[in-house]
Structure formats: C-alpha cells, structure tokens
Subunit: 333 residues, 6 copies
Amino acid sequence: MKTYLNEIKENDQVESFFLVKDKSSGITKTGSAYLKLKLVDRSGEIEGRVWTSAETLAQSFGKDDFVRVTGKAVFFQEHLQLNITHIERMTEEGILFSDFFPTTEKDIEEMFQSLLEVSREIKNPHLSRLLQLFWEDESFVRLFRIAPASKWLHHNYLGGLLEHTLSLARLVLKNVSHYSGLNLDLLLTGSILHDFGKVDELSYHRSLDYSDEGRLLGHIILGIERVEDKIRQLPDFPKDLSMLLKHLLLSHHGQYNWGSPKRPMILEAVMLHFLDDMDAKITGIQQFIKKEVPEGSKWSAYHRMFEQSFYVPPLLEQIQVDESIEKNRSEEE
Amino acid sequence: MKTYLNEIKENDQVESFFLVKDKSSGITKTGSAYLKLKLVDRSGEIEGRVWTSAETLAQSFGKDDFVRVTGKAVFFQEHLQLNITHIERMTEEGILFSDFFPTTEKDIEEMFQSLLEVSREIKNPHLSRLLQLFWEDESFVRLFRIAPASKWLHHNYLGGLLEHTLSLARLVLKNVSHYSGLNLDLLLTGSILHDFGKVDELSYHRSLDYSDEGRLLGHIILGIERVEDKIRQLPDFPKDLSMLLKHLLLSHHGQYNWGSPKRPMILEAVMLHFLDDMDAKITGIQQFIKKEVPEGSKWSAYHRMFEQSFYVPPLLEQIQVDESIEKNRSEEE
Amino acid sequence: MKTYLNEIKENDQVESFFLVKDKSSGITKTGSAYLKLKLVDRSGEIEGRVWTSAETLAQSFGKDDFVRVTGKAVFFQEHLQLNITHIERMTEEGILFSDFFPTTEKDIEEMFQSLLEVSREIKNPHLSRLLQLFWEDESFVRLFRIAPASKWLHHNYLGGLLEHTLSLARLVLKNVSHYSGLNLDLLLTGSILHDFGKVDELSYHRSLDYSDEGRLLGHIILGIERVEDKIRQLPDFPKDLSMLLKHLLLSHHGQYNWGSPKRPMILEAVMLHFLDDMDAKITGIQQFIKKEVPEGSKWSAYHRMFEQSFYVPPLLEQIQVDESIEKNRSEEE
Amino acid sequence: MKTYLNEIKENDQVESFFLVKDKSSGITKTGSAYLKLKLVDRSGEIEGRVWTSAETLAQSFGKDDFVRVTGKAVFFQEHLQLNITHIERMTEEGILFSDFFPTTEKDIEEMFQSLLEVSREIKNPHLSRLLQLFWEDESFVRLFRIAPASKWLHHNYLGGLLEHTLSLARLVLKNVSHYSGLNLDLLLTGSILHDFGKVDELSYHRSLDYSDEGRLLGHIILGIERVEDKIRQLPDFPKDLSMLLKHLLLSHHGQYNWGSPKRPMILEAVMLHFLDDMDAKITGIQQFIKKEVPEGSKWSAYHRMFEQSFYVPPLLEQIQVDESIEKNRSEEE
Amino acid sequence: MKTYLNEIKENDQVESFFLVKDKSSGITKTGSAYLKLKLVDRSGEIEGRVWTSAETLAQSFGKDDFVRVTGKAVFFQEHLQLNITHIERMTEEGILFSDFFPTTEKDIEEMFQSLLEVSREIKNPHLSRLLQLFWEDESFVRLFRIAPASKWLHHNYLGGLLEHTLSLARLVLKNVSHYSGLNLDLLLTGSILHDFGKVDELSYHRSLDYSDEGRLLGHIILGIERVEDKIRQLPDFPKDLSMLLKHLLLSHHGQYNWGSPKRPMILEAVMLHFLDDMDAKITGIQQFIKKEVPEGSKWSAYHRMFEQSFYVPPLLEQIQVDESIEKNRSEEE
Amino acid sequence: MKTYLNEIKENDQVESFFLVKDKSSGITKTGSAYLKLKLVDRSGEIEGRVWTSAETLAQSFGKDDFVRVTGKAVFFQEHLQLNITHIERMTEEGILFSDFFPTTEKDIEEMFQSLLEVSREIKNPHLSRLLQLFWEDESFVRLFRIAPASKWLHHNYLGGLLEHTLSLARLVLKNVSHYSGLNLDLLLTGSILHDFGKVDELSYHRSLDYSDEGRLLGHIILGIERVEDKIRQLPDFPKDLSMLLKHLLLSHHGQYNWGSPKRPMILEAVMLHFLDDMDAKITGIQQFIKKEVPEGSKWSAYHRMFEQSFYVPPLLEQIQVDESIEKNRSEEE
C-alpha cells in the first residue's frame, strides 16, 4: 500500500513508491558520488538522497520514472529528507495514477457511461456515426477519460475534461429546448466534441503541462484535426454539416481575444459559447473557493486571472438567525 | 374596427383611428391655413392634410394624441396622403395599445400568471414577501406587464420585459440545480427583479424611448430604488439578504464596460449574469434574423451592435437531401 | 469585341455581353409584362429593360448569368437605360473574366512561373514535395491563379492572391538571410502557403464576396485543411515539421484581435507576420491612394479601416524647385 | 502617555497600550502553554510573548482589542520581541485613534467647521435642508469625520474623506463661476455628498479595509442610499432635483471602466468629475512622493496603479544656481 | 456695407463681397461659355452664374479669392442663385474676417491685453523673458490672435485659441495655490504656451482645416519647435527649465492615446492636463448644446466624438415651480 | 590585464580594476571604521571590505568611480568577499568600457565604417549634407558609437544603437525597391536618424539607465531636436523635406500607444515602422532565447513584455532524423 508523502514523520522507515521529478548527482566532501532526487506524489514532495551505491542505482531509473523506494526520513536544514537505501524503477502497470496526480472526485467510468448515454440522444445519423467513431477509437478514449480540462482555470485535474464535457452536454440538454429553432443534434455533438483537442494540447502523464503542439497550435485546431480525421472515414458526411460542426468548435471561446478565430455566427454556437463559459467559470470559482478562502473569512484570496476576489455568503437560513441575534444584542446594549 | 395604414390604397375612403406623431400648420397659396399631420399606427405612417376648418379642428387635439379620423387617400408626389375631412381626439380607453406599437406575440396575462407561479417556488419568507409586495403594487404591475425590455437590442416591444423576465426565471429553474451550493431562492428572486428598473428607464406610452431618469440614472439604479422602497416596508428583512439581492441587481451586466458598477462576486450573481446575457443575445439574434435576412439569403444584414452578421443554416435534414442532389448532379456532369 | 458600359452614349445601338446582376419583372400601365435588369461589366453598370417578348426571353437566362445583348441606349430620369431587343445566355467559355471584374495589372502566367521558380529554392525534400503536390493539383491551381487576396483591404482583384503571394515570397528571400538562424525552407514554404485558404474563403466567379465557409471558418483554418490534405498524401512527412508549418499559418496575423488563434512563437513566424503585414499595408495604401486622392490634393480621402488619411508628398526633386520658386517670390514681395 | 513601538529599544521596560493584530497560543518544549501576539500601533508592529499565566490572561482579551501591556523588550532571532508580564483589555474610550492609525495631519474639527461654513453657501432651500439633515445625523457625522477616502490611492488615512471633501468643495467654489450656466448649489451639494458612501464602503475601526457591503455594492450605491434615505424625510424635495443630484453621484468617476454606471451628462457632473479626479490624483501623487522618493533621487519609485514614476524637479531658483555653477565648472575644464 | 447671404431674397439686387469657394466653367446649350461659382460668407453659401463676359471676368480672380459682386437673386431648381453682372477680386485689406468665418463672440483685443496682464504675474526672469519674446514677435502675434483652437471639438472659430489660452491661464491662477508645492511660474507659462503650435497646425485664412505640417507633425511638436526657437535666443535659459517646460507641452494631452508621447510626470504637468481637458470639454459641450439641442427638448443630439448626448436641465428655481404645478394638477385629477 | 569577477575563487590574491557601484561605511564591534563596497565588472559583482586605513582610502574615490584594487578573496556567509588592502581611483583613460558593461559582439569601428558607406548611397544633396554634419560632430559620434538601443527590449548593450541602426539601414536597402514609388534617399536617411535621440535618452557611462530628459521628453523628441539643430546650419534645407523627415522620426513607433504622437502617413514612414519593429523584435527575441532557454528545453522562459514564451525548434535536418528514429522504435515495440 502506498504511503503518502504528507504522512511521513521524522525517523519513519519508509517503503513506498513515488515519481522522480528531479534527479542530479553531487560529490560529498569526502569525494564520493551521491544522488539528489526530488520525489513527488499527489500529497506533496520530498528531497531524497542516495549515499551508497549511488552510481549503480542511478542507472536503473531516470527523471519522470515511477520508483519503488526504501529509506529513512531525517531532518536536514529544517526540512524532511529521505535517506534512500534502495531505489528501483517501476512499470506504470503497478501504478494508480490518482496516487500521483490530483484527480476528479467523481467516478470516471460512471461519467463515461453517462456521456455515452447522452450521445445516444443524437438522432442525426451522420453526427451519431461520427461520435461512434470516437468512442470506438480506444487510444483516444484512453486519453479522453483521464485528460484534465485545463492547466489553471477549471477542472485542472485528471478526469477533468470528461467531467466538464459531461456537464456541458447536460447543460445543453437542459437549455436547448428553451428556445425554438435550435438544433439539438448539432448542439449536443458540438458540446461533446468542443474540447477534444485538449487530449493533445495538454500533457498529463507525468506532470500537468502544455505539449509542444498544444502551445503552437492550441486545442481548437487540434480538435478540428481530430474531427476532420474521423469525418474522412465517413464519405457520406455532408460537407455543410462538417462546416457547421467545425464552426461550433472554432467559435466556442466567443471572442478573438479568448483565442477563437471566429465569433459565433449561428444560434447553436452562441448557446454553446455561453454554456461552456458558464460551466468553466462556475466550476473554476467553486474550486478556487474551496482552496483559497482563509478560515474564518467570507472572502477568497485575489484571483489573478479573474482579477477579483469572490464572496462566500452564509446560508440564507443562517442570515436570519445571525441577524436576529445581532439585533437582540444591539437592543440589549 | 381598425384600418391599418399599410392596408390603405389610393382613393380609399378611410375612417379609423391613429396616433398623431407630428402636427404643424401651413398656409396655402391662396392664403388659407391648413394642418400638416403625420399619423402612425403599428403598421406604418402616412401624411395627413386638413384643408377645411383647419384652425378649429386643430384646437381639439395635439401631438401624441390618439385621434379618430375621416378622410380620403390620394396620391401626392409619389406618396399616399390622407385628405382629412374630420378629426377628433380619442381617450386611451377605446384604444388597443397593440394596434399602435409592436407587441409581444405571446399572451401577456398568461405570461404574468406563469411568473406568479414561478414566484411561488421561493421558500425564503423574506424574499417571498418582498415579491408579494411588488405583485400587490397595482401601478407597478400595470407598467411591468407592458414595458419593453430595451429600445434596441432584444424584446424591444410591449410586453417584452415580462417575456424576458419569465424566460430568465425559467432558465434559472433549469440550471440552478446543475451545480451544488447555489441558492435557488436568492437566484430566482434576483432573476425576477433584475430588470424591474426598466419600467422607469424606458418610456413606452407614445413611442419607445428612454425617459430622463432612464438616461441619467439607468435601470440598474432605478431597480435598486424600487427594491429598496419595498424592503423599507419589511422591517424584519435581513440586512445581509438585502445586500446580496442588490449585489445581484448591480452586477448582472457582468462588466464595468456594460454598465455594471460591480462585477459578480457570488456564484448566484455569476450564473444570473450568464443566463441573462444568453437570453438577451439569443432572443435578440432571433428577432434580428426574422427581420434582417434578405429573401433567398442565408446571411443576415450586418448587426451594428454585435458588429457581425449571422448565418441561418438550412435544416439538418435538408442538408443531407441537398447534398445528395448536388452530388448526383455533379456525377452526371 | 466587347463594348464597355462606360463607353455607351445616348442613342447608341449596343451589341455586346454583360453580366446580369439583378433580374425582376414588372407590369406596364397597359398591363403587359416587362423585364427589369441590372447589367454590369468591369467598367460600371446600367439599367436594362425588355419590353417585348419579356416572358419568353426571361426563361432563357438568370441572375448571375453572362448574356449577349442587343439594344439601344436611351435617357430616362437622368440616367442611361438600355432598351433591349434581344438577350440570350452565354457560356463562360466565350468570356474574358478580366472584362467583368477588376483584375491584376500584371501578367498572371508570368507571376505563376516566377512563383514556381521561387518554390525551387526550397531544398528540404518534404517541403519541396508538399509544394509540388499543390502545383500538380490542377483544380487548386486554377483557383489560385485568379483568386483575389481580400475583399477590401489589399489586392482585391482577380489575380491578387497570386500577386501578394509572389511578393511575400520575394520579401522572404530578401530578408531571411539578414538574421542568422532563420530557416529559409520553412519560411519560404510558409510564405507561399500562408493564404492558400483564400481560394476557398472568397467567392469570385460572379462577384467578389466571402463564401459561407469563408465566413464561418476563415482562410486560416481553410488553408490548414488544404495543407493537411496534402500532407496526408506524404506518409513520411515529419510530424514536427507539419506542426511548425501549421503554426506559421495559424499565427501569421500576429495577434488574437486580427484573427490568429496563436501568436508567433518561432522566429520564422515572427518574420512571416511582419513581412505579410507590411506587404498588405503598403500595397493596400498604394491602391487606395491611386483611387482616393482628389485631383489637386496631396491628401487621400479618409481610410475607414486604417482610420486615417495618407499623404502623397511631391517628389524630392520637386520640393527643392518649388521652394526656391516660392522663396524668390517672397523675396520679391 | 503612549510609548510608540518604533521607540522601543532592547532591554527597555515597556508599559503602554497597543492593538492586538494576531493572537494564537503555543506549547513550549517543556510542555507549558504560552501566548503569541502581534501588537501594533501607528508606528509599527512587534511580536509579543506571554510565558506566565498565559491561559488566564488569554481569556481577558481578543484579536482586534486594544490592550494595556507591561513587559520587557528582548532580542530574538534578529528582531525585538516583547516578553509580557501583564496584559489586559482596554475600552475604546481611553484611546486616541491617531495613536494607532495613520491620521490626517490637519485638524479634524477645524476642517469640519470649514465644511459647515461652505455648506452655508448653498441657497437652494431643498439642497440646504438635505445637507442639514446629514449634519444633524450624529452617527453619520461621527463616521464621516474619521473615515479615510480610500484604501490605496489617496487620502488613505483617518480624516482623509473629510479632507478630500473639503478640498473638492473649495475647488468647486473656485471654478464654478469660471463658466456661465453652471449651478453653484447643485455642484456644491454634489461635491459634498459625492463620497459619503465611503463611510460605509470602508471599515476603519481596527484596520483599513473594505467592508462586505463596500465590496459588493461600492460607495457610489451606498452613497445614493444614504442620500435617498434623507430625501425621504423631505416630502417636498423635487423629484427632478433628486434625479440630478443622484446623477452627479453616479457619474462622478467619469467612465464605465472606473466604476461609474453612467457618464456625466450635465455640465455640473462634468466639472465635478474633473475636479474630483484632479484632487485625488494630485494628492495621491504628493503622498506617494513623500514616501517613495529614495534619498538623493529626483525620481519616485514606480507607482503600480498609475504605471509610471514621478519626477520631483529642483526648485526653479535652484535650477538657475545649479546650472551657472555647472557652467563655470565646465568652462574651467 | 456687407449683405449677408442668408438675408438675400428672390429678386433682390445684390452688391456685396464674398469668398469664392468653387469656380468652374461650362458651356450653355447655345455654345457660349459661362462661369459657375460657389460664393460663401459667414452666414451661408450660394450658387453664382456669370453669363456675360464670362471668359474675361474669369481671369481677374480665382478660387479662395475675396470678390466684389453685383448681381440679381433668382430661383432655380428650388434654390436661390445669383446671376452676376460684375465681379472683381478684392484685396484682404478691405475685409473683415469675421464677416466670412465664425469668430469668437469676445473682444480679441481685450482678451489679448488680459493675457499680457496674466503674463506679468510670472516672476521667474527666464520664463518671463521667453514669453516676452513671443509677444514681441509680430508675425506670431498676428496669427495667435485669430487662430482657432481646433477644427471640431472646442473653440473652433477665429479667436478661439486666444480665448482658450486665456481661460486656461485663469484656471491655473485659480487652482495653483490650492495645493502646496506647485510652481506658479512654470505652470502659468506652460498654460500660455501649451497650444502655441496650433497657429501652425491649423490653416484658417480661407477655410478652417489642418495644414500639411499640422497633420504630419501635430501642434505638440510644432509648439515645441516654436518654443525651442525662442529659447535659442536666450543663451542663459537654464537647460533643466527648458526640459520641464517642454515636458509640460509634450504631456498636456495626458495619455498616449490622445497623442501625448509622454504622460505627465511632474505635478505641474498633471494639473495642466486636467485643467486643459476640463476647459476643452466644458466649452465644447456648451458650444454643442447651443447648436444641437432641438427646440422643446432637454436632450442634445448625439455627440459623435464623446459618444453620448447631453442633458440640459431646467433651472433649479424652475424645477420647484414645475413640480408644484404638476403636483396640483395630479391632485386635481 | 583584467581579472574578471566570475573567475575569482576562494583565497585568490586579486589585483585588478573594477567599478564601484555602492560605497558606505560601518563600525566594527571593536569600534573602528571600515568600508563596505560593491564592486562590479561585466562578469558580475562582489562585496568588498576595507578594514585598514578605511577613512583615508575612502577619500580617494567615490561611487561610480573606476578603481584599482588589491585584496584577497574569502568566503563569508556563503558568498565570496574581497578583503581589500589597497584601493585607488583610476581615470577612464585606462579603461576598456567593454570590460565593465555588456557590449556588442560586433566590431564597433567596422560597423561605423559600414554605416558611413551606406550613407553615401544618398544622392539628395540636402539629406546627404545633413548626415555629413552629424558624422562631423565628434561629440555626437563618440556617444553614438557606444550608446545602447534600449534598456530592456533589444540591443541593450554598448554599441547596440549603432548595431540596430546599421541593421535597419541595410533592411531599408533590401526592401525599398520592392515597391515602386518609395523614395530611397528619404527612407535611408530616416532609418539612420530614427533613433539618434537615444544617445540622450539613455545614460550609459556607469550603468544603463534612462536620463532625466530621456524620461521626461523621450528619444523621439530628443532626436527631432538634434536633427533640427543640424538643419538650422543648412539654410537652404527645404522646409517640406524637413517636415517629411521629422514625420518619419515622429511616427516610427507606428501607434499612439507605443509613444508615437503621429501614425505613419506616407509610404516611407509605413515601411520604416515595419522594418524597425521587425528588427527590434527579432533581435530582442534572439537575445532573450540565448539567455532564457533552460538547458534541455525547447521553450524559453516567459517574456514579460511580449507576454508569451518562444519556441526554439530543432533544425529541420534534425527533425527528419529524430522522427525516423522514433518511428523505428515504435515499430519495434
């Protein structure tokens, strides 16, 4: 069983597995080589030192490898450090990703099944077959199930993309019939596909970051390429339908400044943009509030991207109680 | 029964009622006085002339009055003109406002009852009583039922404010439970109240325009004043609840540039802003498309406020049919 | 031989061919049908009327057809009008496009050969083969040779895209070696491909406008699709090279606000953006100055996109002469 | 008499009173409880430790209380620390606020009397009575006299709001007659009322910060509510006058981006905005220069809100002397 | 004595002088040459025709000349036209500029003397001598006395620059002592010099427009050049003082976007910017209101540069009266 | 010969010369005075201490002096420190500036001769003589040869201005003939003069910073003053030519926001702006990449002014090799 880094105390004998984030070598004052490591898991990070057989052990693993480690926790310069007696590389198979990276609190399999179910609402045969092709693409599905939805703003954890996609598709189902004239099939397909490019834009197998093609091309273009790739396998897919679908993907950020090269020009694109933006904002603020509201405060820290703080009001029921107490008190005075 | 201006043809004998938009007097070459009028109803406008007894008749009515008119339609300088033999002022009682101004296509009474029903979803006794006060305020309700929601952008017709308010409240009901932690009572009350200030911001009894206080103070402030006015009648209304409600009103435009002096800082305000913006945009675009897509075109005219055109795609079913026809044709060639 | 519309005078007997821009029918006072046409060619437009056999003739051609016309020019309500006695549809084969649309003043074939020559400078076999695929694609080449480069700003005439592309490629050749470390092959290929999407973004066979996919997707995306399409035929094409090339296309507008979803992140993309922008601006201003500097003025009209006027200074040689004359004159006074 | 924190030296025996900014408890290595305090006054802050009777003493006071303290100053880890032998809560009555918070250098009573005098210039009976109501509202006056005018930018100290208000009213008196047609009474009243909402927007009894309603509603709305509250007590107050006055308050920031939901639309509002902005900027820069010009420098530090530095030129008289010296010197060389 | 164009009626025999704005020649149906003129003065413009001796008379004058004209006013195509029997060029000497161009309503000589008087407040000998050089420069003074202050926004009439300069200098005198530490001499000199470049930026001898150097360099640079030109004649003028003075000129627009290449960095520059901006805005709005408030309206037309309308409230005294009338009326109902 | 600071190791006996960046005095625990210095050269900085004869030695030099130093390097608090036994001021004559400040890697004399050569391309006698005056102005040339081109963005080292100027002039020569109608003489002169004001805007004799006049007036205005100063010595210099040249200088930043008070209005100014911007950006990015791409990374650090990172792709040749290796590998798996 895994021991988490934030559970380790001075003098603990540790035997667990971690991810190697940094690896370098040094020379002790006595002239012998040693290894300096930074080990991480979901709960934090720790410095590691290999004092014995450093050179031999160093060959068996590298940066970004998962390793099995035996060692003892000691205090050095005000920090815990792991003096490692044995270390060896592990294959990914023995690994639970969620031990190492922040992960959605929801059940991935359950969410995925729900999304498949939502897909079945689509009646248009072309759109339906298009989605089917994605669901049958195992390598895509493997990525899609664990990809995060962003690095910073919202759903920035494993499974976040799936969580956001399912949430958006459900919002579409709730809102599309509110207005006449919006095409459910087109909008629902668009909502499911809209961020598919994020499986390529982000890299999330060792640390959450952007990939080279993510930075140079962006998830909008990468998503269109994935869609185009499937459409080529559907020779009867109507050209105009393909154009509308791509327009939904292209324009879903709503504005040039937010990276959309086109603004929404059809009603479905307008609604997709609003619901996507609302889902990202509300979920992003909820995550932020969870972590960044100091205890005893009703105000969050300052959110640098939104350039503001957020307020967490007391429950309405509480408001009434509080005020009547306060009132009594002020009447007493 | 009313004859509409766009039904009148040359030589028709007309007897109907109109609104006087302009009124001035002139002197004929022979030195006698005549009246120049511009008469309007919902369907258009027409020049009117009173050649006989002009001075006497002129005293009985003024600009912005409703008048009953008898006369004959003639052609003059390429336009129809009404030579009026009799004209007299009418009281508003005999008038159907919808004969004179663009009016919602929905049933006002029905929408109003639906909104009352929605109000009953609110469990919080303070918020519920606050809304009750508004519904009991007959002079407010009379205004609220016919007020438009804006001059230009969306719901710019009689009953538009009610229509937009009901639509927004329903959107709130659909979306609020999608996220945990949002307070239904607060959000629903906020959605119902959010544009109440528009009954004062706009003037819509003779022509749709902004009132002086509308221009100088705006509907956000005017709405807060109306709300404050009612809250004063509820001595137990919690101060913090009042603060939150006003924050929803203040911030519902979402950004400084769109006239909100505060940006949304609580989740309810964030959602209210998105749904309000979405409802205004989608409805505004739908209205625009109805009027401003030239026949035979899939593109609307250029929308000056949104700085773009909109595209009206063919039905998806049609897309497939069209393309297969086109394909056959191109294969034949 | 073609008679141009701006050469026709009152009472001329006209026999020539034009493009039908508008076509509708009317009823004369005597109750017989007639045809109202708007005919255009490169030099202007004229109203046409078919008074005899209108119904029969109407069936033989439609809006946007080229037609051969026989008729007589008469004055009606201060404008020339063509009373047409015979009219019939023409096939495109007999047509010189440059008779109907503004066309580059340069020789299209010559420019195209020059561009082929420039292509041969590319040594990288992948990039070279990629371009080769485009040049061998006859339907693409046919479009590319006559496409305009934009509707408004610059090179907005048939052949304009080719002219701009050749100009940009030559600028690249002149500037690339000015700095060390820029890759000529990548930059040159990027400059040739950068606007290929415009063959699809614009429609220019009857009137210069944007196509549906041009408006909904834009030439950046359309261009990437064309490039992707060819790369798929080159199984060995390196993935990283494809990524860099697409980045050049994506980022060549330089800023989000100008429609690029990514800003230039490699040096080649930075230079491509500057040279493309410079070529578009300078050529656009030169075109504008040619048409929009009133005689006798050194200042152009106000350019609405650039929000300024431009100044056309006298030749430097002239400046000296003018000033010495002026000086002598003022000394005389 | 108060001892200021910045006067205390190592080994001083201290007996004075301070404000408790932080309070927490710890356990010594020997297992006994102690108190950790952060004590502040106007001049700085100091760590405090209570080693004896910590638990008992802890009950007698809390965070944000004023306390009377007896103790000895010692050096610990490069900082002075107060070892406290006795500590007890004080009531506010014995406190001079200016001992604890930065305070205006001017005399508050004198400024307030001057403002009353300025108020008497107002001849319009409604406006005059309105102001009178404020001056008679003791709880308001108590707040108004000590409120700061902002947290960061200008007049950010106790009494700052009064100082800024008086300054602005005097600027109005100096400038209003410069143009014909501006109404002195309206403008003067507006200038006095314009920031009244700041008594509620800021909280300044323990530390200078924004209140909840300050953040959620802002001083513009809070000010309008205070004004509205008084106007309700004046049944004859003309509605149009109330509208104009509120417009002045609403628009005094001049632009949407600066938090005004309306821009100035009457001349009085235009002047109020300019003079208010000028007073805030000039006073803000003067404060900044006082603190943020390094010795020997003519340039201030970088001002983050204004995004620039400021230059403090030598006196003009000095310029001449300096330069003639420099000249002589350079001539000698 | 001058007859103004807006006084002329049909059949009047006219003998007066005008400015020739356009001049061209035509051929009558009978084959003889005639002259087409557009004549203007301050009050309007009129078409003129010379039917007799057109060729001879044409040689004696040109476009932009002042001419003495004899002729008769006739109606032609719904407009008055002047059939001219005699026309000859006039020298400027006989001309009152204010007959031809909009001119300040104030007395130019009186304003100029006031400005001289204000200049005498400056004690610093360098600044005082610098201004003196300008006042002694006759060709400058001649231009300065009649130059307008802008083409569009404010003081856009002959004498406007002087009027604005005097107004600004007086505002400086009123406000400078409001704050400690601002240098009166520097600020007053800066205010007088700040727009001197406008004598060169605008051309205002025939029609109000920008000169070539005005458009290409702007009044800020042109003003600095005029100041630099005078400073060169003052060898002892301190270099630092020159730098500060130029900084005031450079930065007086306050922001890059308003054409200042530097923002104000000294307090004097900050105040100069605010007072200049306030004077331009208030005066500009006052001018606009005078011309652009439709009769019977309290709202001005839409001001395109300010992107808003302005409100002209009734006098406060009137407000009370109006409201009590209204009240009585509504009570009666 | 100079010893560089980054070559010094513990216990080295040092005898070399440095620049004194900071100088202050302290008192040792035993009560004697000592000197604390910060010494710098091109390679870094070091703390210096003078323990003996501190007061005497202190008098012989000051901050910003070059000094010859004898001392020994010791470790103190984890940093090297120089215990100085002798220190004395040096004159600048013995100094190689490039030992102390970052300096262009190119040969200054060679670049300057190249620029003179480029100047000779100018045929217009006025422009040619104007440049000649600058080249003959020894004090200007001395500054111009070593001035940097900016503090932050590009060419921010001694000789950088010359390097940028030569680069820009060569770009002009390469591009000017690409379009017809651009005047080579004007454009080339403009490119050489365009940043001359930087010799005054920056101060670069002891540390690279902005001068007072640089901050208050900026290099655009300072450059125009230097040009104006020379033109005054050329009485025949055409006024219009001077105007055009100044327009080029004024507008070369291209936009108000980038500090140009006028935007380019002639074609030569448009091209100058683009080429100047391109040269600054490309060179700035190249410098940034050299320093700020972490080893092993293809991505630079975040560039705060450009608000992005830059990508350094592998060589194209390398791309192919890499990918075929990767391919083989994936095929093997």
